[in-house]
C-alpha cells in the first residue's frame, strides 16, 4: 500500500506541476515574435532649436515632448526586418514608447498620439523644415511636421504595460498600407500637449521599437 501511495504521490505532483505552468499564464501575456529597435531615425524638433545639427536633438537618452517639442521617428529599414510578417486580427504590429520612471502611463492615456508623416525628412529636420534643401520643397507644410490628425493613433490601453510604463500603439494598418505595400516610409511624429519624457535612441534596451506579436 505504501508503495502505491508513494507512486500516486509522485504522479500527483507531476500533474500539479504541469498544470501550474498552464494555469498561471495570464491571458494578457503575449508572445513577442519580432522586435525592431529604433536606434537610429529618432529626431527631436522644437520651436526653440534652430540648428538641425543641434546635438540635443538626436542620440539622446531621453526626450522631453510637449506642445512645441515633438519627436520624429522612422524605423529605418523596417521592411527588411519584418516586412513579410502576417498581420491579422490576432497578430498585430505595435509601436512601443517607454516613459521614464516617475511618470504614470495611465495619466497620458488619450494625451499622446503618434501620427504618420506625409513628407520625407532628414536628420537635419527642424520645426520648420523637413530638410534644409530646395527652399519651399524642404519646408513642412505646417510647422512641426506634416500629418493628418485623422490618421493619428492613441495609446492602445488594452495592450500597454502599465507596470513598466510602456505605451503600445497599434500601427498595423499603417504597416500594411505603407510598408508591406512598398510605399515610402516617412515614419511618425509623436505629439503630446503635456510634458512627457520618453526614453530615447541612446538606450538600447528601451529605445522606441516596433513589435509584431499575438494578442488573444
Amino acid at each position: 500500500m505504501k508503495r502505491y501511495q508513494f507512486w500516486f504521490l509522485i504522479l500527483l505532483l507531476t500533474i500539479l506541476t504541469a498544470c501550474d505552468g498552464i494555469l498561471s499564464e495570464d491571458e494578457n501575456d503575449h508572445l513577442e515574435r519580432n522586435v525592431v529597435n529604433s536606434l537610429k531615425g529618432v529626431k527631436l524638433i522644437s520651436e526653440d532649436i534652430l540648428d538641425g545639427r543641434d546635438e540635443s536633438t538626436f542620440t539622446e537618452e531621453t526626450y522631453l515632448l510637449n506642445s512645441n517639442r515633438r519627436m520624429l521617428l522612422r524605423f529605418e529599414k523596417i521592411r527588411d526586418e519584418v516586412g513579410s510578417v502576417v498581420i491579422d486580427n490576432t497578430t498585430r504590429m505595435f509601436m512601443i514608447l517607454k516613459l521614464t520612471d516617475g511618470q504614470n502611463l495611465e495619466d497620458y492615456f488619450g494625451k499622446i498620439e503618434i501620427c504618420p508623416l506625409l513628407k520625407n525628412w532628414m536628420m537635419l529636420a527642424t520645426w520648420n523644415y523637413a530638410h534644409p534643401f530646395a527652399g519651399k520643397k524642404g519646408k513642412w507644410g505646417n510647422p512641426g511636421g506634416d500629418f493628418n490628425f485623422s490618421e493619428c493613433i492613441g495609446i492602445n490601453e488594452e495592450n500597454s504595460k502599465i507596470d513598466s510604463n510602456e505605451a503600445y500603439f497599434d500601427i498595423s494598418d499603417w504597416f500594411i498600407h505603407n510598408i508591406q505595400s512598398g510605399r515610402s516610409n516617412f515614419g511618425w511624429v509623436v505629439i503630446s500637449e503635456e510634458d512627457i519624457t520618453i526614453i530615447g535612441d541612446n538606450n538600447a534596451a528601451h529605445s522606441p521599437r516596433v513589435v509584431w506579436r499575438e494578442i488573444f
Binding site: 529618432v42 534652430l50 545639427r53 529599414k77 534644409p132
Partner: protein, 463 residues
C-alpha cells in the same frame, strides 16, 4: 652727364628739323652703297657694351609692356652691328636718306626702318659717350620696332627716344609719350619680332604676377531663415595665399598657388579649412586684352573631420578663363568658370547622407573705375548648378533629387594700391536664387562662401 643728354637732345632735334627741310625722309632708301665701302661686324667694344647697357636700361623700365614697344628690346638685343671703315658727311647722307648726325655734321649711324635690319655705325660714333651710344641704339631700334605707320616719322621716334633716355624717366612718362604719338591711340600692330612675344598690358596681373595675400571674410549676413541652416554655422574664414610664378618669362608666366584657410564658427569653434592649389597662365594678349586661364582645386585633405563631414566638405575642382581689359580710367573683367561635379558624405546620428553636387557654371562681370591709386567697382555673377541630390544608404530616406539651382550675386570692390601693396575691401550679396538657395548649397567655401553673402578684407603684396 646731363650735358651729354642735352647734346643728344639737340642732335635729335636737329634731325627733326632736317626732316622738315629734306622731305620726305625714307630711312635706308637711296642707299647707293657709298657708306658701305668696307665694314665689319662688331663683336665687342664700346658699341657692343652700350648695346647691352641699352637693353638693361630698357628692361629696368619694363619697356616691353608699353604698347608699341613690345619688340624694342628684341630689336636692340639681337641687332647685328657693323662698323664702316670711313665716315660719311652729313651732306652726302642727306642725299641718301635718314641718318643720325651730330652738330658737327658727322654721321654716327644708319639703319633701315624695317624689322631686323642691321645697323651701321660710323667711326665718328666712337667719340660719343656710353650714354649717347645707348641713346643711339635705342633710337635706331625704335625705327625698326615701332609700327609701320609711325616708325618713319623722325619726330615721333625722337620724342619717344627723348622720353626713354631722359634722366629719371619712368614707365608712366614713357607710356604717356608713346600714347601721344599714336594718331588714334591704337594698340600696337606688331612690326615683327624674333620670337612670338606677348605684349602684356601695363596693368596686367602678369606684370607682377606673384603675390602673398592675407585675407579675412565674414559670413555674418543673415540667413533667409535661420532654421534652414544647411551646413555648419561658419562665421568667418581666414586665409593666407602664396601665388608664385617661377616658370617662363613674365609674358608667359606660369604660376602655382597655395591657399591655406582657417575657419571659425558662430559658437567659437575653429578648425582647419580647405587647402587650395591653383595654376594660372596667360594664353594671349591682343589689343590690350589679356586672356588668362586658371585651374584650381580646393581639397579637404587637411581639413578637420567636422568640416569634412558636412556639406562644405566637398573637394572643388574648377577651371576658368578671364578676359581682362584695363584702361587708364576703367577696368573690365569677364570670367567664365566651370566647377566639376563632386560629392561629400555626412553622417548625422548614425544615418549616412551623400550629397551629390552637379557641375556649376559661373559667369561673372567685374568692372570699375580707376583714379590714382584707387580702384572702385563691383561684380555681378550668375551661377547655375545642375541637379543636386541627397541620398542615404542606410535609411528609408532614400533619394531626393532637388534639381538645378540658380544663384545671382553681386558685390562691391574697393582697392587701394601703392608700391606693390594692395588693400582690398569687397563683398558678396545674394541677389536672387531659385528655391531660396543659399551659397551653402554650392558647397564652395573658398569661392562663393556660405549663407547669404560675406564681407572681406585682404592685404597683398605683389612682386
Amino acid at each position: 652727364m646731363n650735358k651729354n643728354y642735352l647734346l643728344l637732345a639737340v642732335a635729335i632735334m636737329l634731325l627733326i628739323s632736317l626732316k622738315s627741310m629734306a622731305a620726305p625722309t625714307n630711312v635706308g632708301n637711296g642707299d647707293d652703297g657709298t657708306d658701305l665701302e668696307g665694314f665689319a661686324k662688331l663683336e665687342s667694344g664700346p658699341l657692343i657694351e652700350s648695346q647691352l647697357r641699352a637693353v638693361n636700361q630698357l628692361r629696368k623700365l619694363n619697356i616691353s609692356n608699353i604698347k608699341g614697344l613690345g619688340n624694342l628690346i628684341n630689336e636692340i638685343e639681337k641687332n647685328n652691328i657693323y662698323m664702316t671703315n670711313k665716315d660719311v658727311s652729313a651732306k652726302k647722307m642727306e642725299e641718301m636718306g635718314a641718318f643720325h648726325a651730330g652738330l658737327e655734321g658727322k654721321v654716327y649711324a644708319r639703319t633701315f626702318s624695317r624689322p631686323h635690319a642691321p645697323t651701321r655705325f660710323f667711326p665718328a660714333s666712337l667719340k660719343l659717350s656710353q650714354n649717347q651710344l645707348m641713346a643711339l641704339h635705342i633710337h635706331e631700334g625704335l625705327h625698326r620696332a615701332l609700327p609701320e605707320e609711325i616708325r618713319d616719322d623722325e619726330k615721333k621716334v625722337s620724342n619717344i627716344t627723348l622720353a626713354i633716355i631722359s634722366p629719371e624717366s619712368t614707365y608712366d612718362q614713357i607710356n604717356q609719350v608713346v600714347m601721344e604719338v599714336y594718331p588714334d591711340k591704337k594698340e600696337q600692330i606688331p612690326a615683327g619680332s624674333y620670337t612670338q612675344s606677348v605684349n602684356v598690358s601695363k596693368d596686367s596681373k602678369l606684370n607682377n604676377p606673384s603675390s602673398l595675400e592675407l585675407s579675412f571674410r565674414s559670413f555674418g549676413s543673415p540667413k533667409q531663415d535661420e532654421t534652414k541652416l544647411q551646413s555648419l554655422p561658419i562665421s568667418s574664414i581666414y586665409s593666407i595665399s602664396s601665388h608664385l610664378y617661377p616658370f617662363g618669362k613674365n609674358e608667359y608666366a606660369l604660376g602655382t598657388g597655395i591657399d591655406i584657410s582657417y575657419i571659425k564658427q558662430d559658437d567659437g569653434k575653429s578648425y582647419m579649412g580647405p587647402l587650395g592649389l591653383s595654376l594660372r597662365k596667360l594664353i594671349f594678349t591682343m589689343r590690350g586684352f589679356d586672356l588668362e586661364t586658371y585651374g584650381r582645386a580646393d581639397l579637404h585633405t587637411l581639413s578637420d573631420e567636422e568640416l569634412k563631414n558636412s556639406l562644405m566638405g566637398r573637394d572643388i575642382y574648377k577651371v576658368g578663363v578671364s578676359l581682362i581689359k584695363t584702361t587708364d580710367i576703367v577696368y573690365i573683367q569677364n570670367d567664365l568658370e566651370y566647377t566639376a561635379p563632386s560629392e561629400v558624405k555626412e553622417t548625422i546620428a548614425n544615418i549616412n547622407y551623400t550629397y551629390k553636387f552637379g557641375s556649376t557654371v559661373a559667369a561673372r562681370i567685374k568692372a570699375g573705375g580707376r583714379y590714382k591709386n584707387f580702384h572702385a567697382g563691383g561684380f555681378f555673377e550668375m551661377l547655375v548648378s545642375t541637379n543636386f541630390t541627397v541620398e542615404s544608404d542606410n535609411s528609408d530616406f532614400g533619394k531626393e533629387e532637388l534639381g538645378r539651382n540658380r544663384v545671382v550675386a553681386l558685390g562691391p570692390e574697393i582697392m587701394w594700391g601703392r608700391n606693390n601693396f594692395d588693400v582690398k575691401f569687397y563683398g558678396r550679396y545674394l541677389l536672387n536664387s531659385s528655391k531660396e538657395t543659399d551659397f551653402d548649397q554650392l558647397g564652395d567655401l573658398m569661392g562663393t562662401g556660405v549663407g547669404q553673402g560675406n564681407l572681406g578684407l585682404s592685404v597683398s603684396y605683389k612682386f
